[in-house]
């Protein structure tokens, strides 16, 4: 990389900032820190970062307010939300409010690095999209009638009331080549916003597939278990992951974003 990637970490706990700085530096990324959202916002105004990592619960402005303010400011920098109060509601709400990822504390080196690397890659794709003329198709947007959780997973309600879930193409573009996928079994339960499959890529990283809705698995796509590349080839049709019976569709569906041409 020609210029060092700049990450801004916002957290009121010094140990978290220290950890992020230390771990990211080991990967060659440079990290700026802020101890609260207000200071963070000031830095964002002055400097253009590639990625923001923010806590939710902070004195003064919290993580959700930060997300709102960034949207109002039309700052497109991707945000990863990380919190010690790692409930499902918080995770889903962050993703709905525009965060690209949710990282529950405490996290390991691998979890942080895989998340940050996806964020950086996301930013790169965004940059290409906005500033350069490009001929190649960067990613396939999720089709109409589909709904997505953040930019991670999609859900499609079928005629019989069951729901098909899968991985959003943009998410796959932020990771390296998929090597294998670790799936749950039929009868297992999904919880919205919780990881329900692990995607292993050829760079040794593990990426979570977050369940877009809660429910019970009735069918697992055996094809993607055998040929994981199918996921990348046809993410919205043949590359589906599970068919589930949703547990609380009406309530949870509100937290999903309808797929439009945006992404």
């Amino acid at each position: 990389m020609t210029k060092p990637v700049q990450i801004l970490a916002i957290d009121d706990e010094q140990i978290i900032l220290d950890s992020i700085v230390k771990l990211c530096s080991s990967e060659g990324w440079t990290v700026d820190t802020a101890e609260n959202a207000e200071t963070g916002l000031e830095k964002i105004r002055k400097h253009s970062y590639a990625l923001i990592i923010s806590d939710i619960m902070m004195p003064g402005m919290d993580g959700f307010e930060l997300l709102d303010t960034l949207r109002d400011m039309e700052v497109v920098t991707p945000v990863i939300i990380t919190t010690g109060y790692s409930t499902v509601e918080n995770a889903v709400r962050s993703l709905y409010n525009g965060a690209i990822d949710f990282l529950p504390k405490p996290f390991t080196v691998d979890e942080l690095i895989s998340s940050v690397s996806r964020g950086i890659r996301y930013h790169e794709i965004q940059q290409t999209l906005h500033h350069e003329d490009h001929d190649e198709v960067l990613f396939v947007p999720c089709p109409a009638k589909y709904n997505r959780l953040g930019y991670n997973s999609w859900a499609l309600v079928t005629e019989d009331g069951s729901v098909r879930v899968g991985v959003v193409d943009l998410f796959l573009r932020t990771v390296q080549t998929v090597e294998s996928i670790e799936l749950l079994q039929p009868e297992d339960e999904l919880i919205q916003g919780n990881s329900c499959a692990e995607i292993h890529t050829d760079d040794g990283k593990v990426h979570p597939f977050l369940a877009p809705l809660s429910g019970r698995i009735v069918e697992t796509n055996a094809d993607i278990g055998q040929t994981p590349t199918l996921l990348e080839k046809d993410p919205y049709f043949k590359g589906w992951v599970y068919t589930i019976i949703p547990a609380d569709l009406n309530y949870e569906f509100k937290m999903l974003i309808p797929c439009t041409a945006e992404i």
Partner: protein, 621 residues
């Protein structure tokens, strides 16, 4: 005093008695007086006739001296006031009162008025018209008078004196008056008696009523008042003793039922309150503890990554990373406790999980001089379990066992083996539907920790509930009221009241009616409706035959658990450790085992020890 039921009742009844008795007395006295007066009337009339006929001869002989003497004699009889004879012109000719003799009476005077009211005097009068009652002075006793006309007779105009011409009809009048004092006294006496009677009846009735009210109403109402005060004061466990079968008894029973329901509701509220504050606490703890844990986890995992080429650090760092991850899962499950978090199940070797749990508790056990005896079967099939959760189960069980043993030292035995069980007495009903599709599962009423199947039952006028044990064939059923053993019960869906009795079938064991319901995806479930019969039949599950389970038994030589507490130990917040425990340990264990479709049971002898037996199906996910 005036507000009390007893007084009001007595006042009402007293008033009624006064009205009844005085009406009765009024008419009775009236009648008595009338009777007495008519008797007097007859008597005085007779007397007057007697005087008239006695005087007749003397009159005919014109023996005035004799008549005068007779009138005087009779006139001085006790109770005879006056005897007087008047001639037709109203002059008193003879009188017991000598001062009157010769005086002229006014024809308008009371004694004369009856006949002389009109111009021409009447000559004949019925006896009633000839009598009168009057008072000489307003304060003297009453006087009864009768006038007796002396008619002209042939002997009169034929007599020697020829004073009276033949045409004259009435020659004079005999007026006899007697005093009514004895009669009045008699009437007064009767009045007195009746008043006394009225008083006695009012007093005795009041007394009886008062005693009745006191024993039947007052005392029992006092009990009810005491009970309501107790309940108002917060003692919801207060029970009114049986008060019999009348209305107050019913009130007492329904009062007891109400307090029982209230106390259950309060318990529930208390529980959910406890849950809510536990949730808040957990959230706070999670937030605070996760920050330092992030420090540990990131630095440890970073160190682990950096020291890949130094195997001597790798193992220790792996333990730190693994245990921190486990702490993370514990905090997370604390947060998800209310949400009934779903286990992350993988294929695992139960032996390894037990070893991990032992490693964590090792130092604690050594300190308490507790020996571990392992009797682990070598080739157990792998189980599909959540490793963290299962490790938590065994850690908790071992820690509990060490607490039960205390500081004296003892032995904890962990035994595993593969068993094969017929479904009868083992298989669990997770869902139950009535023919109309209503859910029969009752998550409020738990039997041995499991939600039960609720059915409505009707006996006579009373309706209640039967809660069936969710374990096929175990029949630890609960009845909401007393049900005789052999009774054929009319069971129905509590939501839509559709009958759950199969009319075409009878119990092959005792002949009683058979109830049924649908277990979604697992066919029809049938059972005998009689309380003392344990026949049940679950065709689909029976068809699957015996199943393999891994049985893990953790037993200790500790203080044991009294049998009456067996049911309670798996309930949340049940603790015997006082401030030391949260009471969540066994509830969490139960939840985890249940999530794995397994069962946990306890057997214990006080003073000898306790054994927890966990069975996890081999093919469970």
């Amino acid at each position: 005093m005036f507000q009390r039921i007893g007084f009001k009742l007595i006042a009402g009844v007293g008033l009624a008695v006064i009205v009844i008795v005085s009406t009765f007395a009024y008419f009775n006295i009236k009648e008595q007086e009338k009777l007495l007066i008519s008797e007097i009337e007859r008597h005085v009339n007779q007397e007057s006739e007697l005087i008239k006929s006695s005087a007749k001869d003397a009159m005919l002989a014109n023996n005035r001296e004799s008549i005068y003497n007779m009138v005087q004699t009779i006139g001085h009889q006790p109770c005879i006031r006056t005897v007087r004879i008047m001639n037709e012109s109203g002059e008193i000719v003879y009188s017991s009162d000598t001062t009157e003799i010769g005086t002229q009476l006014d024809k308008k005077a009371q004694a004369c008025y009856t006949c002389h009211a009109t111009g021409v005097p009447l000559q004949k009068l019925p006896i009633a018209k000839r009598t009168r009652i009057f008072r000489l002075h307003p304060d003297s006793s009453r006087t009864f008078g009768v006038i007796n006309p002396i008619y002209n007779e042939p002997s009169c105009w034929n007599s020697d004196c020829h004073i009276h011409p033949q045409e004259q009809k009435v020659l004079g009048v005999l007026d006899l008056t007697v005093c009514l004092k004895p009669v009045d006294m008699k009437v007064a006496e009767v009045e007195m008696q009746l008043t006394l009677f009225a008083l006695i009846s009012i007093i005795s009735l009041s007394l009886v009523l008062w005693l009745m009210v006191r024993s039947v109403v007052d005392k029992r109402i006092k009990k009810l008042v005491v009970a309501t005060r107790e309940v108002a004061g917060g003692n919801l466990g207060y029970n009114i003793q049986d008060m019999g079968n009348d209305e107050l008894g019913m009130l007492a029973r329904s009062f007891n039922k109400m307090t029982q329901k209230l106390s259950e509701a309060r318990q529930q509220l208390f529980q959910s309150d406890k849950m809510a504050s536990l949730g808040r606490l957990a959230a706070g703890v999670a937030h605070e503890i996760n920050n330092p844990m992030t420090g540990i986890l990131t630095y440890a995992s970073f160190l682990q990554k950096r020291t890949k080429d130094q195997p001597e650090f790798q193992e220790d760092l792996a333990v730190i990373v693994r245990e921190t991850k486990r702490s993370r899962e514990i905090v997370k499950s604390l947060l998800d406790f209310a949400r009934q978090s779903v286990p992350k199940k993988v294929q695992a070797n139960i032996r390894q999980i037990i070893d991990m749990a032992l490693k964590v508790t090792e130092s604690q056990l050594a300190l308490k001089k507790i020996k571990i005896e392992k009797d682990l079967a070598p080739d157990l099939p792998k189980l599909t379990v959540d490793i963290n959760q299962m490790q938590q189960v065994f850690t908790n069980l071992i820690v509990n066992a060490s607490h039960a043993i205390g500081d004296e030292g003892g032995v904890i035995t962990i035994q595993t083996k593969l068993i094969s069980l017929r479904p009868f007495g083992v298989a669990k009903i997770n869902q139950a539907l009535c023919p109309k599709g209503h859910n029969l599962m009752d998550h409020e009423t738990k039997i041995d920790g499991l939600p039960s199947i609720q059915m409505a039952v009707k006996i006579g006028q009373e309706t209640g509930f039967v809660n069936l044990d969710a374990i096929y064939g175990r029949n630890h059923n609960l009845y909401s009221f007393d049900v005789p053993d052999n009774m054929h019960l009319e069971l129905a869906c509590p939501k839509c009241s559709i009958s759950l009795i199969d009319k075409k079938k009878t119990c092959p064991k005792c002949g009683a009616p058979v109830y049924f319901f649908e277990v979604p995806g697992k066919g029809r479930f049938e059972g005998c409706s009689a309380r003392n019969c344990n026949w049940q039949f679950w065709e689909t599950i029976e068809g699957e035959g015996a199943k393999d389970y891994v049985q893990i038994k953790v037993s200790d030589t500790g203080c044991g658990i009294p049998k009456e507490n067996f049911r309670k130990i798996f309930e949340p917040f049940y603790t015997t450790k006082g401030q030391k425990g949260t009471g969540l340990g066994l509830a969490v264990i139960w939840g985890i085992i249940d999530n794995h479709n397994g069962t946990i049971s306890v057997s214990s002898t006080v003073g000898e020890g306790t054994a927890f037996t966990i069975r996890i199906p081999v093919d469970a996910r």
